[in-house]
């Protein structure tokens, strides 16, 4: 339970960081990172799944309210929160028995890299497609997804190296 509160707090922190810091970072004038999805990567697997899905949705909605973007962040964050379990099974080869002991920090870097890249690209692709909301300018959706994903992942791994202690 203690860990749940801890990670909820991290979610709130990430949301505020996103709204007031990362939304103002514009690399090459239009690429900005969406680091708040790190919450989905870090939240423990063994906790209540309803609670996790609801938190992911609220986090997205919070960003949406500040960005005036309807429900696009909520939609894409919820999607990766839901499919996260599938990718944990796929990349880390975990069964439901292992979930209580699963921690992202204990896994090898290669597997973490695959896992985060897949979820980030998926999230950004849904986000930019919904933001564009038409099939025109589809190339710009792809490009935005690519550039923003690189930026987000760079920040995520840098943040990981700085703030998370290796055990």
């Amino acid at each position: 339970m203690n860990r749940t509160i801890y990670y909820t707090f991290i979610g709130v922190l990430l949301a505020f960081l996103q709204v007031f810091v990362f939304d103002n970072i514009l690399f090459f004038e239009y690429i900005n990172p969406f680091l708040y999805i790190a919450f989905v990567f870090l939240f423990p697997v063994r906790e209540l799944r309803f609670y996790f899905l609801f938190l992911a949705f609220s986090l997205g909605l919070f960003i949406d309210i500040f960005a005036d973007s309807g429900g696009i962040h909520a939609f894409s964050t919820l999607t990766i929160a839901y499919v996260r379990l599938f990718f944990i099974k796929l990349y880390f080869r975990k069964t439901p028995v292992d979930y209580p002991f699963f921690s992202l920090q204990k896994e090898p870097f290669g597997k973490i890299f695959n896992f985060t890249v897949t979820l980030t690209v998926l999230h950004h692709f849904i986000l930019f497609s919904l933001d564009n909301f038409s099939f025109q300018n589809f190339s710009s959706v792809i490009l935005n997804t690519l550039y923003s994903s690189i930026f987000t992942l760079l920040l995520f791994f840098l943040g990981g190296f700085i703030f998370i202690k290796k055990q």
Partner: protein, 274 residues
């Protein structure tokens, strides 16, 4: 019944996921229609206030730039007064200039932008005045350099503005010189320095470097507010005849704006609807 319950038991996460996802997509679709935005937006009390706090910090850093802008505008206005005085004093036969040619029946008020967007495909601004200060829907927003947008949704203290950098935006504009050809300004969502003027008839003589101003054909914008200069003229045989317009305004650097209330809006609208 047993089967139904076991079905729900089995797929409870998927069902929960679908319910939340439906809410998300509903909000997204609603957000794409003008005037139908839901209650979840940044005009509300908490996010509006937070944005204002951060904008105040930013304000202090940019004081010098803003002062410079105000001084430039003051000089412009002073020149205009001097010019008008000169006309008044010299003769009854005068040269007709822009400022008196356009019969302006508008009231102006000032506001500050507390949130600025220019990188998304549907950009929105937030200004720090709302219903309490007499701001209504569909009022024009501009600054000394040119047009910025149209108010879209008013809160008590804050108002959401649809930027010209929005795919739903369609402000009517025309060439400053020459014939009165007009058409809507649209944005293709690519570069925040450029907008596109469409539907200008093919016989119109458009040259690169021509000034584009608002046409006054809508009830929102007064006539003659600056927009930008013609950058490229599209292929004349294309369907839309797009003209690329370089904006005078730097949309990434906005703070003090004017909000225009059109006093004749109701009369014009009733006449048009009859």
């Amino acid at each position: 019944m047993q089967q139904l319950i076991s079905f729900i038991q089995k797929y409870k996460y998927l069902l929960f996921f679908i319910i939340l996802q439906t809410i998300g997509i509903h909000l997204t679709i609603q957000n794409h229609s003008f005037h139908k935005s839901t209650f979840l937006n940044s005009t509300n009390f908490i996010s509006g206030n937070l944005y204002e706090k951060f904008a105040n910090i930013r304000d202090y850093i940019h004081l010098k730039d803003q002062n410079q802008q105000l001084v430039t505008e003051n000089i412009q206005l002073k020149n205009k007064i001097a010019f008008l005085n000169a006309i008044e004093q010299t003769a009854s036969e005068t040269v007709i200039t822009d400022s008196i040619n356009f019969n302006q029946r508008y009231s102006y008020s000032t506001a500050k932008i507390v949130k600025n967007q220019y990188t998304k495909s549907n950009n929105i601004l937030l200004i720090n005045k709302g219903e309490a200060a007499g701001i209504e829907n569909e009022m024009a927003v501009f600054n000394n350099k040119g047009i910025i947008g149209v108010t879209e949704k008013t809160g008590k203290k804050y108002t959401r503005v649809q930027s010209i950098l929005n795919k739903n935006s369609g402000i009517s504009a025309r060439l400053k010189k020459g014939a009165n050809y007009f058409g809507p300004l649209v944005w293709d969502g690519k570069d925040y320095r450029k907008v596109q003027l469409t539907d200008i008839p093919r016989q119109a003589n458009v040259k690169i470097g021509d000034t584009i101003v608002t046409s006054g054909m809508s009830t929102i914008f007064p006539e003659g507010i600056l927009v930008g200069t013609v950058l490229t003229v599209g292929d004349k045989n294309s369907r839309e005849n797009k003209i690329s317009v370089q904006l005078f305004n730097d949309m990434s650097n906005l703070r003090h704006v004017y909000v225009v209330k059109s006093l004749h809006k109701l009369e014009i609208k009733t006449l048009l609807n009859e």
